[in-house]
């Protein structure tokens, strides 16, 4: 059987076996509705309380600051819409960046249509937010700034302390919302210390179940719910809780944070090895992930190779990666993040993202680079044309 090498961990991860086991156990035995008054309900509620405490502890937060949601997308929507809805007097101006995940960017676009004044701050060629531009745009009517902490395509890490400092200078009332989906469980982050008011995280990027996420809401920040019903999650998020999922998310968080530094060291080594090995090949490539980016993400462009074509060739060898842009002649599907980095279209079209997890090994990295070296010359159609012309001469 083909050895499977999974380098698409920023898309999603393989669930921890311990988590799967726990969830099956909870689904089978602790099936009560947490709102029920009887023992079955109380047992289920205890699991939620415990998961909430775990996650709060890991973030240096209070349990009542953690709200469970259906994932990163809902957390982002709830943070932005819920906050603006509850705080109309803070102003009609909101700020985000050009390299957000669609679950932030599209919300801002909608708000723009609904009459909000929106500034999309640009980034430098490494993907770092233009602090001067932020300083210019921030004003007394600015209610909210949303920033992606670790960008999902290149891994660039934003300097939240700098951003918070600018905010403190200009308008203390402006709340900072951080999309920490690619950061949670990977780099150390303490929202309260960092001056973050709202922070979105997700479970399935850290070997937890899909369909689970959380929103950190700093004490004193008021949010309105996105939908109404039984008033679960302190009225913010109605709907019967996904008890097995929440328990699984709690355990996955615990397992990840316990090893956070060891894990990071391991992934730093894998990413370094990947780049080192690439250097010893004859391939033309550009590493798009800047110095100091998250070790979990390595974005590389191979010029003159269509990323999706390369993806399918790698998949044929059992290696799973992702691309920023889909290969389609019909729609414009270029990555908005890579476009914001001002990269030429040849590079954007050829960009592949390798994203790692603690399950990956050195051996896998070596094999992947070897495979790249083998297949890229064969699928580079232009190179084939040149070879043909030369041989015809």
């Amino acid at each position: 059987m083909l050895q499977e090498i999974y380098f698409d961990n920023s898309a999603t991860t393989r669930q921890f076996d311990e988590v799967t086991k726990l969830m099956a156990d909870v689904a089978r035995n602790t099936y009560g509705n947490p709102s029920s008054l009887h023992t079955k309900g109380i047992e289920a509620e205890r699991l939620i309380i415990s998961a909430r405490e775990t996650i709060a502890n890991l973030l240096g937060a209070q349990p009542q600051e953690i709200y469970f949601t259906s994932g990163g997308t809902e957390s982002n929507n709830l943070a932005i819409r819920g906050f603006l809805d509850a705080n109309p007097r803070l102003g009609k101006h909101i700020i985000t960046t050009q390299i957000e995940h669609p679950s932030v960017l599209e919300v801002y676009r909608q708000l723009e249509k609904q009459g909000y004044d929106v500034d999309y701050i640009g980034v430098d060629k490494e993907g770092l937010l233009d602090i001067n531009q932020l300083r210019e745009k921030l004003k007394s009517e600015t209610a909210l700034i949303s920033i992606i902490l670790v960008n999902n395509e290149t891994g660039v890490i934003q300097q939240i302390d700098q951003i918070a400092a600018v905010r403190d200078d200009i308008n203390m009332k402006t709340v900072i919302h951080v999309d920490a989906v690619q950061a949670y469980g990977k780099i150390s982050i303490r929202p309260e210390k960092a001056g973050i008011g709202l922070m979105s995280v997700s479970s399935h990027k850290i070997h937890g179940p899909k369909g689970l996420g959380a929103l950190y809401v700093s004490r004193g920040i008021k949010l309105n719910p996105l939908f109404y019903g039984g008033g679960q999650e302190s009225l913010l998020r109605s709907g019967t809780e996904n008890v097995p999922g929440i328990a699984g998310f709690g355990l996955a968080s615990k397992l990840t944070f316990e090893q956070l530094e060891d894990n990071y060291a391991k992934v730093v080594m894998l990413k370094g090895l990947f780049i080192d090995r690439l250097k010893s090949t004859s391939l033309d490539y550009h590493v798009l992930s800047p110095e100091g980016s998250s070790a979990y993400i390595l974005s590389i462009a191979f010029e003159d190779v269509k990323a999706e074509v390369l993806l399918h060739h790698l998949e044929q060898k059992g290696i799973y990666v992702s691309t920023g842009s889909a290969c389609s002649s019909r729609r414009n599907s270029k990555s908005h993040v890579l476009t914001a980095l001002n990269l030429p279209s040849g590079i954007i079209d050829g960009t592949i993202r390798f994203s790692f997890s603690i399950f990956n090994t050195e051996e896998e990295v070596i094999k992947a680079v070897h495979t790249l070296d083998e297949i890229i010359p064969a699928i580079d159609i232009n190179r084939r044309h040149i070879l043909r012309r030369n041989s015809n001469r």
Binding site: S328, I379, I381
Partner: protein, 405 residues
């Protein structure tokens, strides 16, 4: 008294001595379509087909939905079969007309446009007397039954020119009454006009082309050229989904998935860029013809439309056509894209066709393909290709999937 389905067919009636062959085929196809809905009798009578279910709880709506996809059928009606006795006819007609009027009133009320519409529904009665021993003549049936319904349903009025609905009475050995005629696609029953092999790409055109030929009675087999890993596996899933939709009309489609990557690379490496597409088309046609001959098909079917792309100019089509001897049916040749889209929407393939997983063959497409290639230059450019062996290999490695609805 019994609820049955009346099926009308058009063109077949004109078939002279061959008519029974077409009728038999149509009846077989009807039985196939209704398989799974419970036991039915399919009875031919005086250029009509009646479907009489055995079970009380037969799903008539589902049956109609299936029947209007059977080629050869012009229209269907759900009818009440009663004794040819005028008192009976009156009694049952009143019940049926009352229900129909209630339905019409409800739908006009629900429609926001017709707020001021009065509570009056216009109608007329149309009678046919097939059984000449029945004591009343058609005009007399119309007048008497119409009068009776008018008297007994207060919201009715008569309008013989533009009625809201027509109440039909057909007096034969039995009498059939109904209010609705549901149109179908016409055409000829599948299997009555040989077999064609459709080049199915995954775009909008080819499924529409296959449907049009199936409508003329052709059985369809499909060939898809699969360029994995230059395309996604989703491209294959998409073609299977399209074949599944076509199978609603064609019962069963044998889908040949031909591995095409090696051939494409060979062409890419050895042929001039501006002729890549035309040479690729020629190889596809050759392979499709081989498959057609093996499957005892009589024609190839493509979704080409004149001038749509460089490989669909008359010159290019001539060069493509030169590699095969079977006739190539191109039912969309004179259609605009909008007309094709209309068909695709009607048959239900459009939404699937516009999914983005098309052949990722932008990689293999030349920037400036030749629009007026000649046969001699194309043949000359193919000289270096080891095409025979490659075709042989591709056909041997072809995956066959039987697709049913």
């Amino acid at each position: 008294m019994k609820k049955v389905i009346l099926v009308r067919y058009g063109e077949i009636i004109l078939k002279g001595l061959n008519r029974p062959i077409f009728e038999d085929r149509l009846m077989t196809n009807i039985r196939k379509s209704l398989a799974g809905l419970g036991k039915v009798d399919v009875i031919r009578s005086q250029a009509r087909i009646f479907i009489e279910p055995h079970d009380e709880d037969f799903d008539f709506d589902k049956a109609v939905e299936k029947l209007i996809k059977v080629f050869g059928i012009v229209s269907v009606s759900i009818v009440l079969k009663i004794d040819s006795d005028f008192e009976q006819i009156k009694k049952q007609s009143l019940i049926m007309a009352q229900k129909h009027v209630e339905n019409l009133l409800r739908t006009t009320k629900q429609s926001p446009k017709c707020q001021e519409q009065s509570e009056i529904i216009s109608f007329k009665v149309e009678a046919k007397r097939g059984d000449k021993s029945f004591p009343m003549q058609s005009p007399q049936i119309c007048a008497e039954l119409g009068g009776y319904l008018l008297e007994n349903i207060p919201s009715l009025r008569v309008d013989v020119h533009k009625p809201d609905f027509i109440f039909f009475v057909e007096v034969r050995e039995n009498t059939y009454i109904y209010c609705d005629i549901i149109p179908s696609n016409g055409g000829l029953p599948i299997g009555s006009n040989g077999k064609g092999v459709l080049l199915l790409s995954g775009g909008i055109d080819s499924p529409a082309a296959g449907w049009m030929m199936a409508k003329r009675g052709m059985s369809i087999e499909a060939v898809h050229f699969y360029s994995y890993p230059y395309t996604s596996e989703r491209a294959k899933d998409k073609v299977i989904s399209l074949a599944k939709i076509l199978a609603k009309y064609c019962y069963r489609i044998k889908l040949h998935i031909v591995p095409f990557t090696e051939i494409q690379l060979e062409i890419n490496d050895k042929c001039p860029e501006e002729l890549l597409t035309i040479i690729m088309r020629r190889v596809m046609m050759k392979i499709a013809e081989r498959i057609a001959l093996k499957s005892e098909a009589q024609a190839l079917i493509t979704g080409e439309s004149l001038g749509q792309v460089a490989s669909q100019t008359p010159q290019a089509l001539a060069v493509t056509n030169a590699v095969v001897s079977l006739p190539v049916f191109r039912p969309l040749i004179g259609m605009d894209k909008n007309e094709v889209i209309e068909i695709a929407r009607k048959i239900g393939t459009y939404e699937t066709s516009i999914l983005p997983y098309e052949d990722c063959c932008t990689v293999f497409v030349a920037k400036h393909p030749k629009t007026k290639p000649t046969l001699s230059e194309t043949e000359k450019s193919e000289e270096d290709l080891h095409i025979e062996e490659m075709i042989e290999k591709a056909i041997n490695d072809t995956e066959i999937i039987i697709v049913t609805e």
